[in-house]
């Protein structure tokens, strides 16, 4: 489709755009956000400070940005995808040079009112760039090797920068998010089979080189893998997080121990209880019912995005919507898998719930793009 096909006749303009928002999706997002505020209030021991208030302010800021982005025509976002990608690459380089160090890695740029984490931005800008790329690329060329090398470079540039921080979790999310974009774009399935085979070989190589001078991952990463494989081997050291996390989840039972009654989180047995492990507090205090409900909310968000994407005729719009939904999915699936002991602890926040500005703002802006695609689709 061309710009011309987005005619005034077909797409809403001005204040009428508000009527064409994907309102159910907004309701779902606000609902998940509120779950986050409740949990942050609880883990602070029944206090709005230090986390819940700050989170609400950022959420408000994020929602505002979402509306602005949503009201901006989707073709503007296609045209700026490259700029956004370049900006996030530059920020990643900047963080490499002047970034704040925290938790053993260099991830943040202090902006004064918040600490920006460019790697979170990169997750979305890669998706946008790939959507724009495949919108531009004629479909018959999609599976040709050269035209596959190009998007791989787009993916690997930020990945390499993020890996240097080092932040394995985010790197893997970017790779997976990018990979899923290639899948949506219709790259031949044989490539994916090849990558999966290579992945297996890499895992083998990681373990095979362990302890040799050519060790691929750093020691702390190897330790995390060990811990994941057998958390009980070191319940007070590296396995502590995952063991306590599982205790918290399990002790929740059907209906949980009651709001603000979770002993694991209230007595600080849980690590990172306001960020990556916030789901355990929810599961401890609201039990299986609460945990499944949150999972359902997330599932509905994905479903609304996918349904919306299916109704779009614009390739960029549907690809970017699907890509953002996939990234969102990766966020919570990896986080939940991590706290439930299904995946190694890699430091991925629970989207829209975990305390943390960058991830939340980036996600809300991304949902703004999804809304924009929804509003400005050809009818």
């Amino acid at each position: 489709m061309s710009y011309l096909e987005y005619t005034v006749r077909q797409t809403p303009t001005g204040a009428r755009k508000l009527l064409y928002f994907n309102w159910p999706l907004i309701v779902l997002i606000v609902a998940v956000g509120c779950v986050g505020f409740l949990m942050l209030y609880s883990v602070a021991g029944g206090s709005w400070t230090p986390w819940a208030i700050a989170q609400m302010q950022r959420f408000a800021l994020g929602m505002t940005l979402m509306f602005i982005v949503a009201l901006t025509p989707i073709w503007f976002w296609r045209n700026t995808a490259g700029v956004a990608y370049l900006a996030s690459l530059i920020l990643l380089v900047v963080v490499e040079i002047i970034g704040d160090v925290g938790g053993g890695s260099q991830r943040w740029i202090d902006l004064g009112f918040m600490r920006l984490q460019p790697s979170e931005m990169a997750k979305i800008t890669v998706v946008m760039l790939l959507a724009a790329y495949y919108d531009w690329l004629p479909p018959e060329k999609v599976s040709r090797p050269f035209w596959i090398i190009v998007p791989l470079v787009f993916i690997l540039l930020p990945v390499l920068l993020v890996l240097r921080q080092p932040d394995l979790g985010t790197s893997l999310l970017i790779i997976m998010g990018g990979g899923i974009m290639l899948w949506f774009a219709g790259v031949h399935w044989a490539y994916f089979a090849g990558v999966i085979a290579t992945g297996c070989a890499t895992i083998y190589a990681v373990f095979a080189t362990r302890g040799t001078p050519r060790q691929i991952l750093s020691d702390y990463q190897m330790d995390r893998i060990d811990t994941f494989l057998d958390p009980s081997a070191d319940p007070l050291g590296d396995g502590y997080h995952i063991t306590q996390s599982k205790i918290a989840l399990g002790s929740g039972g059907w209906t949980g121990r009651g709001y603000m009654q979770g002993t694991q989180s209230q007595l600080n047995f849980l690590p990172e209880k306001h960020t990556d492990f916030i789901f355990t507090t929810l599961a401890e205090e609201f039990g299986f019912v609460g945990a499944i409900s949150l999972l359902a909310l997330y599932g509905l968000i994905i479903a609304f995005c996918v349904v919306s994407a299916m109704r779009m005729r614009d390739r960029f719009a549907s690809l970017v919507t699907l890509g953002i939904a996939a990234t969102f999915f990766l966020y919570f699936a990896v986080n939940m898998g991590m706290v439930m002991g299904l995946l190694p602890v890699v430091g991925v926040p629970l989207p829209l719930v975990s305390y943390g500005g960058s991830a939340m703002l980036v996600l809300l802006v991304a949902f703004g793009v999804v809304q924009s695609a929804h509003i400005h689709r050809a009818r």
Binding site: M1, S2, D135, W136, P138, P139, E140, I180, W183, F184, A185, G186, Q244, K246, I247, A248, L249, G250, S251, G252, G253, W254, T263, Q264, L267, N268, F269, A283, G287, F288, A291, I292, L295, G299, I302, V306, A309, M310, R313, R315, S318, L319, L322, A326, F329, A333, M336, G337, M340, L342
Partner: protein, 650 residues
């Protein structure tokens, strides 16, 4: 930008298919997540709930208050006193060294105490309070509390500590407590969790250790919720500790005080026993020490001084040390001979100062001999040859049997540390233990309580009580536990001819009350308080023939540790026996000079129930009695006033 040439619908379908596959994969993953949640939260919920509780709940023990110990009149012998102490919790203190340094400016804290506290703090858990100082005054505590902001991690709290109000007098009987150490834990088979409370006090000697179980009580528990760092958040519930049982002893504090004062200066011991009930009214041993020193932590130099004292203050001589009973054993030899029917009560034996047995000459203490001697004279004047003769006729096994009947060579069951068994030797014993045959000379020695015969003052007191009452009285030290009376054990009549017993009692009366009796000088003049007794002198060295030829060296001329032991037993009043008394003065010389006066003073004190008046003494003894009582005065305490004060308190 270039327009795509393909049909948009084809493109849409392709994306749709791929999205469908992706959606299916997502659903699958959501299913896995949901299944995992169900697994953790429903299937294994109980197990994880348990783990969560284990995480958060700690059980802290509440130490029970130790049972108190009273004397027979309800005077307190062992009590618990509040103990203000300062503890430190490493986690709260931060820089422990700096905090201790600041603390040392407020209360006296020696560099050694600081380094000791530092070491303990470093080796224990960061959340466990470690005691730095205890037994502080209220002023110190107030000062520390006022400076609390500058002393993070320091807490002033109140515990209980053992206190012995009468101090020295009951050091051996009541004993003392001390902090439980890993050494104690390894030696006693006791898994009472209360022992793991830091600084918990357990009995180490005397009644304190022997009655440890009832005294200790039961620990209470406090279930507290802790956070991940182990800091207490709140108390969930508590079960109060159960206080230990109070124990009442049979001893009389006033009498014990008198006995200790009377023995002071000697290495001596004395026992006063009720002849009817067996109640031990006083178990004295000198020198003694202050048990409170051990509770508070005795200094090495003080400890070594006590340990190296040649008078052995740590020994409870009245029950732990055994001596040859000497002539106090003669009643047993006589009883054995008469009971056996070998010797008639009125038979006389000629004493020429010695007797030849198997080519060995055994001497009487009186070189010139006593002439014709019957039972009465033999006891009164303590003739030895008479008993050589009796023993040779009755044989050692009969004598040993009689000795055991009267409580010698038997371990009496009283709750004090290391109660000695003593020894009533017989042929079987010598063969088994010494792997030698019994020789006739052994019998001769044993007949006058020398040689292998060994007894403690407790044995002698039991013997005397049994002679007086004719019943198998057993010593009793614990009168009641927690208000429940301990039954008086074994009071069956002893199977001996009452006439024989009566003859012996009469002779013992003569010892004290007939001119020429070995203890005539130590008699009492009050008709109702007449004593019946027997002196004893037991040799600790061998007198060679050469020495005997030039004249036996007098005790006063020998070094202390080679002098004879002085012994004395008696009961009183003669016609209505109440108390049996046994006295041993180590290396005191002759029994009649060194031990009998002590026995007399103690008997009078027991009978009067107060310091005896001088009228009770024969006029010739009054001067020395006055001197003795005056010398004792600083050590005597007025327990009537004390009792009145105690009664007021309660």
């Amino acid at each position: 930008m270039k327009r795509p040439t393909t049909d948009p619908h084809v493109n849409e379908r392709k994306i749709g298919r791929r999205a469908f596959v992706f959606g299916a994969a997502q659903l699958g993953i959501l299913g896995v997540l949901g299944y995992r949640m169900r697994e953790l939260q429903i299937k294994q919920a109980d197990q994880y709930r348990l783990l969560a509780d284990e995480n958060r709940i700690n059980i802290r023990l509440i130490p029970p208050a130790r049972g108190r110990i009273f004397d027979r009149n309800g005077l307190t012998l062992a009590d618990n006193e509040p103990n203000y102490r300062i503890t430190i919790v490493r986690d709260n203190a931060g820089d422990v060294e700096e905090v201790l340094h600041r603390l040392s400016r407020i209360v006296t804290l020696t560099p050694e105490q600081i380094s000791e506290a530092l070491e303990t703090v470093q080796t224990s858990s960061p959340f466990v309070p470690v005691t730095i100082l205890d037994r502080l005054t209220w002023d110190d505590i107030a000062e520390v509390s006022a400076n609390a902001p500058a002393l993070p991690g320091i807490t002033a709290d109140l515990g209980l500590s053992r206190y012995y109000p009468v101090g020295n007098d009951f050091a051996h009987v009541v004993g003392y407590v001390g902090r439980v150490t890993s050494y104690h834990l390894s030696r006693i088979d006791d898994n009472d969790p209360v022992l793991r409370i830091p600084d918990f006090q357990i009995g180490l000697t005397g009644v304190e250790v022997k009655e440890e179980k009832p005294l200790r009580g039961k620990a209470g528990t406090r279930r507290i919720e802790v956070n991940a760092r182990g800091r207490m958040m709140r108390e969930l519930d508590r079960v109060e500790a159960i206080k230990g049982d109070d124990i009442q002893l049979t001893v009389d504090t006033g009498l014990q005080n008198f006995v200790q004062a009377r023995l002071a200066g000697e290495a001596a011991s004395a026992i006063v026993m009720d002849v009817e009930t067996g109640d031990l009214l006083a178990v004295g041993s000198a020198p003694t020490f202050d048990p409170n020193l051990f509770v508070r932590g005795i200094s090495t130099s003080d400890y070594n001084a006590l340990l190296n004292d040649k008078y052995r203050p740590f020994r409870s001589k009245a029950i732990q040390d055994i001596y040859p009973p000497g002539s106090t054993f003669k009643m047993i030899t006589a009883l054995a001979a008469f009971e056996d029917g070998q010797v008639d009560l009125n038979e006389t034996v000629r004493c020429v100062g010695h007797k030849e047995v198997a080519d060995v000459r055994f001497h009487c203490w009186k070189r010139a001999g006593h002439g014709n001697v019957n039972l009465h004279k033999s006891l009164k004047e303590s003739c030895d040859v008479y008993y050589y003769d009796l023993a040779l006729r009755v044989g050692i096994d009969k004598i040993a049997e009689m000795a055991r009947k009267f409580g010698i060579g038997v371990r009496h069951d009283i709750p004090m540390s290391a109660v000695a068994r003593g020894l009533a030797p017989d042929k079987a014993w010598k063969r088994e233990v010494r792997e030698e045959d019994w020789r006739i000379g052994d019998t001769v020695n044993a007949s006058i309580g020398q040689g292998y015969v060994l007894s403690s003052p407790l044995h002698l007191a039991v013997m005397t009580a049994r002679l007086a009452s004719g019943r198998a009285v057993e010593p009793r030290l614990v009168k009641s536990r927690n208000g429940v009376e301990v039954p008086i054990a074994g009071n069956a009549p002893i199977d001996v001819n009452p006439n024989t017993l009566e003859a012996i009692r009469k002779s013992m009366y003569a010892v004290c009350n007939t001119r020429g009796g070995t203890a005539y000088a130590s008699r009492t003049t009050v008709q109702d308080f007449r004593m019946a007794g027997k002196t004893g002198t037991s040799q600790v060295r061998r007198i060679t023939a050469a020495e005997r030829a030039r004249g036996v060296t007098r005790n006063e001329d020998l070094p202390w540790e080679r002098r004879d032991h002085a012994l004395w037993v008696n009961y009183a009043p003669y016609d209505n026996p109440k108390y049996a008394v046994a006295v041993i003065v180590e290396h005191g010389g002759g029994g009649s000079k060194a031990a009998a006066p002590i026995g007399r003073d103690i008997t009078l004190r027991a009978l009067y129930g107060r310091t005896p008046p001088l009228e009770a003494y024969p006029s010739r003894a009054q001067a020395s009695a006055r001197a003795t009582l005056r010398r004792m005065e600083p050590l005597l305490r007025d327990f009537d006033t004390q009792a009145a004060l105690d009664a007021d308190k309660t």
